[in-house]
Amino acid sequence: MSNKWIIAFYVLPALLLIGIFIFIPLALSGYYGFMDWDGIGAMTFIGLENYTAALQDVKFWDSAWHSFLLAIFSTLSLLIYLAIALILASKIKGSDLLRKIYLIPMLLSSVAIAQLWIKIYNPTSGMLNQILLKIGVENPPAWLAETSIVLYAIFIPILWQYAGFYILIYYAALKNIPDSIIEAARIDGASPVQIALRIKLPLIMGIVKVTIVLAVVGSLKYFDLIYVMTGGGPNSASEVMASYMYKLAFDTNNFGYGSAIGFLLLIITLVVTYIVRKLTATKEEIQY
């Protein structure tokens, strides 16, 4: 048996699984996008009608804008995660315990997190408004009921949910930097801030780029907490692309249109990923 056969054999199970569960459904949803289909009866081919309708659909672009906002916020919050990771990695007391604490939200299921934050945000008995009342805020907002703030109110648990994940990635990358380099910098008289910004950060830049892509892609296709906490409401104020797609396909029985939106979501994500990679590309990778 030649080496190539063995490689093919090893790759096969994963390839099969990905093919069956990802690529075939992807192609199918693109195909369903050409159909007028209620998901139950017969399909009729209507060409590009669903796609052109989606491009003119104000609600779709509203939800796309909400998804982009989430992508922007998640990317910005990477800075905070990076700062936390830098602090944790610099051998402070109790960093081990803190790291575990930051990781806990990641271990909870999205639905549990949603239930938790629904309770926190409850307009009358919720923890947040109770605290606000105690410190003298007279009429604290009903966080999940007001169209102007609901979106940002949901962003907070979403960012909180993934904080541990990114901190862990950064932490691991930082721990990988050889001590000798840091030692050399210190002997040359670099301050801790200089070491962090001039030595550590450039050395983990590759990882940072990956996390930016992860954060952007993850945000654009985000669904869970929004679905459980508000269902996209009130009055579509917290609708994102994925929840809008779900609503069209499953609540209004418009599978053709929902599939078209799903396919557009894929294309948008691909394009944005490409742009992000272009923007963050550097000519030379720093090696150590």
Binding site: G39, L144, T230, F250, D251
Partner: protein
């Protein structure tokens, strides 16, 4: 090194087998599942009352199935239970792949239409005419009829009434209102005293729709909303617009609990159950919580009463209700055991009618002799309301097609949240209804 390679190889092999086994297994299931293997016939049945969350319902279903199996040797009933939302998703997926269970649960009117258009459900008029003749409350089985054929047999019948906390009412010297002016006075008194008048969880949206439907019924008469939906009228009817205005008046009076647009119905319910709000408009499916449910303090249950939605400026009938049948049973058109499945459905409906109200507190859609049963007073009152009802308007989001229902529900949130004017609200409905 060699050993490691061998282990990896084994693991890869194992995974491939898993994939292959996974695929072939489902084939086998399909072959033996709904067909008949030898003399044994198997009816696949899916329902949405899991043991955990609806224990009493679940138990009755189990009883009915085992009785049916005993009386019909050679017929097995294979049950799959899912909770409500999962059930709705799964039934949709199963119907796309033509794998519907032989018997399952459906909702009326708008929900049913795509399944009937796709020829997924079989007409049940034959058992309705023979076995179950005259056994349903008029208007209930009809909600499952499309083009003269009935595709589902209802199990439940509900009307929405306003439940109120007598203890809170007594504290402020209030009485159950008969007219809308009295009702507004109740709201104002409670609100002035810092008590939240009405618990409303409008994140779920159909809850707000109930309030709108009642106002439309009282202001414009029993038919105005229904005829707007079935296109014999228009949604820009002045009565429908002024009902929308009245909703916003109520919002301005602080009639509803704070943040209602972000609260789920369950959260609103728990506010009412914790005496944090004085009134709660909900279907009679919640009656057990106010009568027989031992998990709820007796003191609270005893302090709950209900009244019908008041008349508005002398218009409307107190005996006209919003409500309708809940879930019903369907038989799949592609079923291999259609005869047995129909027999099972008929058996189920009858047995359910006898047991549901006494054992689970569910009012069945089949006719009931209330005097022969020992029931809590509130049940008897609701059953009397049902038998005296001059009209029952089916829930708007059930009447409408799924697409229009989505517009309606979104607009309800917008109306309550004052992001849409009453005129816009009516216009959006009219557009959606005339577009289909």
């Amino acid at each position: 090194m060699k050993q490691k390679k061998a282990i990896t190889l084994l693991f890869a092999l194992f995974l491939s087998i898993l994939v292959i086994a996974g695929c072939s297994n489902s084939d086998k299931e399909k072959a033996s599942g709904s067909g008949d293997s030898g003399d044994e016939k198997t009816i696949k049945f899916m329902h949405l009352w899991p043991e955990g969350s609806s224990k009493t319902h679940y138990t009755i279903v189990e009883e009915i199935i085992s009785n049916f199996e005993n009386e019909n040797p050679g017929v097995n009933v294979e049950v799959e239970v899912l909770s409500n939302e999962q059930y709705k998703d799964k039934i949709k997926v199963l119907s796309t792949s033509n794998e519907l269970p032989d018997v399952g649960m459906t909702w009326a009117a708008g929900y049913l239409t795509p399944y009937v258009d796709g020829k997924k459900f079989t007409p049940l008029d034959d058992i309705l005419q023979s076995d179950l003749k005259d056994s349903f409350v008029p208007g209930t089985a009809e909600a499952y009829a499309i083009d003269g054929k009935t595709y589902g047999l209802p199990l439940e019948l509900n009307i929405a009434t306003i439940f109120y906390n007598k203890a809170i009412f007594d504290e402020y010297g209030l009485e159950a209102p008969k007219t809308y002016d009295e009702f507004k006075n109740v709201i104002k008194t409670l609100s002035d005293n810092g008590v939240a008048p009405i618990a409303l969880g409008n994140k779920d949206r159909w809850t707000g729709s109930l309030w709108y439907m009642y106002l439309a019924d009282r202001i414009g008469g029993a038919d105005v909303l229904t005829s707007a939906i079935n296109r014999s009228g228009t949604f820009e009817d002045p009565a429908l617009v002024s009902a929308a205005k009245e909703i916003q008046n109520m919002v301005d009076m602080n009639a509803f609990v704070k943040g209602f647009n972000g609260l789920a119905d369950e959260e609103a319910k728990s506010m009412f159950m914790n005496s944090q709000a004085a009134m709660y408009l909900i279907g009679s499916w919640d009656l057990p919580n106010f009568t027989t449910n031992e998990d709820i303090p007796k003191e609270f249950r005893d302090s709950i009463g209900f009244f019908n939605f008041p008349t508005v400026d002398g218009k409307g009938e107190l005996t006209s209700h919003v409500g309708g049948p809940g879930v019903g049973l369907f038989v799949s058109e592609d079923s291999d055991v259609k005869e047995e499945a129909k027999k099972f459905v008929s058996y189920f409906v009858k047995a359910w009618g006898e047991k549901s109200v006494t054992q689970a507190g569910v009012i069945p859609a089949t006719k009931l002799d209330a005097s022969s049963l020992e029931l809590p007073q509130m049940y008897i009152d609701v059953l009397n309301e049902l038998s005296n009802a001059t009209n029952i308007t089916l829930f708007a989001d059930v009447q409408m097609s799924p697409e229009v229902a989505e517009v309606h529900l979104t607009q309800i949130q917008a109306l309550f949240g004052k992001e849409a004017t009453p005129e816009d609200f009516a216009k959006k409905h009219e557009e959606a209804l005339s577009a289909q």
